[in-house]
């Protein structure tokens, strides 16, 4: 198997492409969120939902709609879940109406078993929206603080930019597919916040280590070092994401209809979490430290290639402590 660290792939060099795509994702999410919007489910909208398992399979919801019309039930939404499963969502439903629907369906499809009934008051939905937003923001903040403590503050910010992108992408996918968004969506968002940062941590850990081990006279620039770190950790980034995606894919394919959309969201989130660590978090970090490394690059250009610079001359110039002092500050910063 090939090794990424031996390859000449330069991810950082094309940063503008990756960051351009990321910005595009974020902007289109915001735009579509306000124009097309998410397909909020019962938990958010309020109303009543009934789900049946019918005795016979049916082709499409067109077979059910007229039956409801006969009962004067105004259904806002009918969804086929399985070959013989159906969800009916209405604003209001009395018990008599529900029993009439059950009877009508069982008359037409041999049998109709009411497997789920939900009523959600209008207050709940508003609260849920607020909870989702607060929880996500708090999750992001908590990660910034943790990464800020364990690494450096700019690394924490870079990781958070990647996180923000991941959240946007999942929201974007849910807007485009119009899959229903319910309470578990909050769990999807927070899982992404937790998981997406995993790979970022591994990469940043490597960047930090490589910075520490970098010889004083190294001519490697910061962008080069980040790129090397990315390539060195590429296999594990791919494999960790792959194993988790395999697990969630199994849930998506075999876990049953009740859990499918949830698994779908998790899968998108985990995959983009792996992608964003490499293609967003690292490039953003390079961008944030641009001032630092452009100066570094100029220094490298200025210093002659001859390795042994006579120390006596530096002492003569009247600044003997300068190089030493500089080393110690950078070292402290890098820790």
């Amino acid at each position: 198997m090939g090794y990424f660290e031996d390859s000449k792939i330069n991810i950082i060099k094309h940063s503008s492409i990756w960051l351009g795509v990321a910005v595009l994702v974020i902007i289109s999410t915001v735009l579509l969120f306000f124009t097309r919007g998410l397909n909020f489910g019962l938990d958010f909208t309020g109303g009543t939902l009934i789900e049946y398992k019918l005795g016979k399979s049916f082709d499409n919801v067109g077979e059910i709609r007229p039956l409801l019309a006969e009962l004067n039930v105004e259904s806002s939404f009918i969804q086929k879940t399985d070959e013989n499963g159906v969800i009916i969502r209405v604003k209001e439903l009395t018990n008599e109406q529900r029993d009439a629907i059950t009877k009508k369906l069982s008359d037409n499809f041999d049998s109709a078993e009411l497997i789920r009934q939900e009523f959600i008051g209008p207050v709940i939905g508003q609260e849920l929206r607020r909870t989702a937003i607060i929880a996500t923001i708090l999750g992001l903040l908590a990660q910034v603080i943790y990464i800020g403590i364990r690494f450096k503050f700019d690394m924490a910010l870079a990781a958070d930019v990647a996180l923000l992108h991941d959240i946007c992408l999942v929201v974007l996918v849910f807007i485009i597919t119009q899959k229903e968004v319910n309470t578990p969506f909050i769990a999807i968002l927070l899982t992404i916040v937790g998981y997406s940062i995993n790979d970022t941590v591994v990469i940043f850990d490597r960047i930090r280590e490589n910075l520490k081990l970098k010889p004083k006279d190294s001519r490697e620039t910061f962008p080069q070092l980040v790129n090397r770190s990315l390539l060195e950790t590429m296999t594990r980034s791919i494999n960790t994401v792959l194993t988790t995606v395999i697990a969630v894919l199994a849930v998506y394919l075999f876990g049953g209809s009740a859990i499918r959309d949830f698994a779908f969201g998790l899968m998108i989130g985990i995959a983009t979490g792996g992608y964003s660590s490499i293609f967003i978090a690292a490039p953003v970090l390079v961008l944030m430290r641009k001032k630092e490394w452009t100066r570094e690059m100029e220094n490298i250009k200025e210093t002659p290639v001859t390795p042994a610079a006579p120390t006596s001359r530096a002492t003569d110039a009247g600044q003997p402590a300068a190089p030493k002092g500089k080393v110690s500050t950078t070292k402290r910063k890098r820790r």
Partner: protein, 411 residues
């Protein structure tokens, strides 16, 4: 303190044995979304007289608790949520949820009202007549039958109530007495004679069920404030069963695929990772049983997903070992360096997942909480299996001939 390898192995074997034993002995607690039942959320409403406080809510909770207890539902959950909400979960409840809602959410304020010479039809709202006694003055209420065999509710007043009732009936013979429940007349009998012993019969238009329900409500007492139903979820038993079967299949497939992947990619170390993964699954199931954590629909997804996350630690370690080997280190020192240098990134990445679960647990309710718990549990265990168990296995197998070759690591 250094613990010898045999002891470490023994500890792990015992832990896994215990886990499997606990899991097999004790069935996992299923959430409402999997086992079926009714989930209700009520919100207490202020009245002109009473503002809802924590104290009011405690009283409401106690009353609801006693109402439900008399129904004989096993393991009901009545929880306060916030300042004015009560969550009621009735696992396995398969009747029409409306009857549960009626029983729990009814204020059940029984009033005996003096309507004088006026007869009031059953079912009408009566607010103007003066109240003589209320349900609070009752000592007991139970179902009985009148002379025609029709169900009635027999009530018995406490001593003070009995005194008032005796005096009132003595002075009002030939007049009407209206009995109202939450302001609606359920019966309006003529007073034929004085009732001195404080015992009476309410002859409403009862069926056996409705008479039983009223008796239950009267015994438990009236709610101090009215309740509003704001959320109701009812899950039939088949939905959960189907999902559980499907997810067991999904879990098995996930484990097999991941084990296969690790084996193909990491060869012999893949076997070690696979053994750790099996240990992980055993420990996870054991701890889920020990903590009696409630398994919910999203929780199942979290469990299966965590299987994929559990090998992440191994991937990080193995890749590191490979790198150390390529630097020209010996196999043993590469393994040691690989583990040592992987602690920090593994811990950091798992802690971030734990932080996310904590936030989710704090803000989530019900099934989402179940997800957070399973995710946290899985993450914590995977730190142990990915680092400790794998390391011990490496040490254990280090004497084998196959361990001397870099092929072990898929190089």
């Amino acid at each position: 303190m250094r613990i010898g390898l045999p002891i470490k192995v023994a500890i792990i074997v015992v832990l896994i044995g215990l886990s499997v034993w606990v899991f097999l002995r004790q069935s996992v607690k299923l959430g409402l979304d999997l086992q079926g039942g009714v989930h209700l959320v009520f919100e207490a409403q202020d009245t002109p007289q009473i503002k809802v406080t924590g104290d009011t809510l405690s009283r409401v909770q106690a009353i609801i608790d006693s109402r439900i207890n008399q129904l004989g539902i096993t393991e009901p959950i009545i929880q306060r949520e916030g300042d004015r909400r009560l969550v009621v979960e009735l696992p396995g409840y398969q009747e029409d949820p409306q009857s549960a809602i009626d029983l729990i959410g009814k204020t059940a304020l029984l009033e005996f009202k003096d309507t004088g010479t006026r007869y009031v039809e059953e079912g009408t709202k009566l607010t103007d007549a003066p109240t003589i006694l209320t349900g609070a003055d009752l000592k007991d209420a139970r179902v009985g039958y009148d002379q025609f065999g029709k169900p009635v509710v027999e009530v018995e007043f406490n001593p003070e109530g009995a005194k008032v009732f005796a005096e009132f009936t003595r002075n009002n013979i030939g007049r009407y007495l209206a009995i109202t429940l939450d302001g609606v007349v359920i019966s309006c009998p003529v007073i034929n004679s004085e009732i001195p012993d404080g015992k009476g019969q309410i002859e409403g238009n009862f069926t056996l069920d409705s008479a039983t329900q009223l008796a239950v409500l009267l015994r438990a007492g009236a709610l101090p404030v009215p309740l509003n139903l704001i959320e109701m979820r009812r899950v039939g038993p088949t939905l959960g069963k189907d999902t559980i079967n499907a997810s067991i299949r999904a879990a098995v497939i996930a484990v097999i695929l991941i084990m296969g992947f690790m084996l193909v990619y990491y060869r012999f170390s893949g076997i070690i990772a696979d053994i750790s993964l099996l240990c992980y699954v055993a420990l996870l199931l054991g701890l889920v049983s020990v903590f009696k954590a409630t398994l919910t629909l999203p929780g199942i997804a979290a469990l299966i997903m965590s299987v994929g996350m559990a090998v992440d630690g191994n991937v990080i370690i193995f890749e590191r070992i490979k790198e150390e080997l390529k630097k020209g280190k010996t196999l043993m020192s590469s393994i040691e360096a690989g583990f040592r240098r992987s602690y920090a990134p593994i811990l950091d990445s798992q802690i971030t997942t734990l932080i996310a679960s904590a936030v989710l647990f704090y803000f989530g309710t019900g099934s989402v909480r179940g997800f957070a718990v399973m995710l946290a549990l899985g993450t914590a265990i995977s730190i142990f299996t990915a680092i400790t168990v794998t390391h011990i296995l490496f040490q254990l197998f280090s004497q084998l001939k196959i361990m001397k070759s870099p092929k072990t690591f898929g190089i």
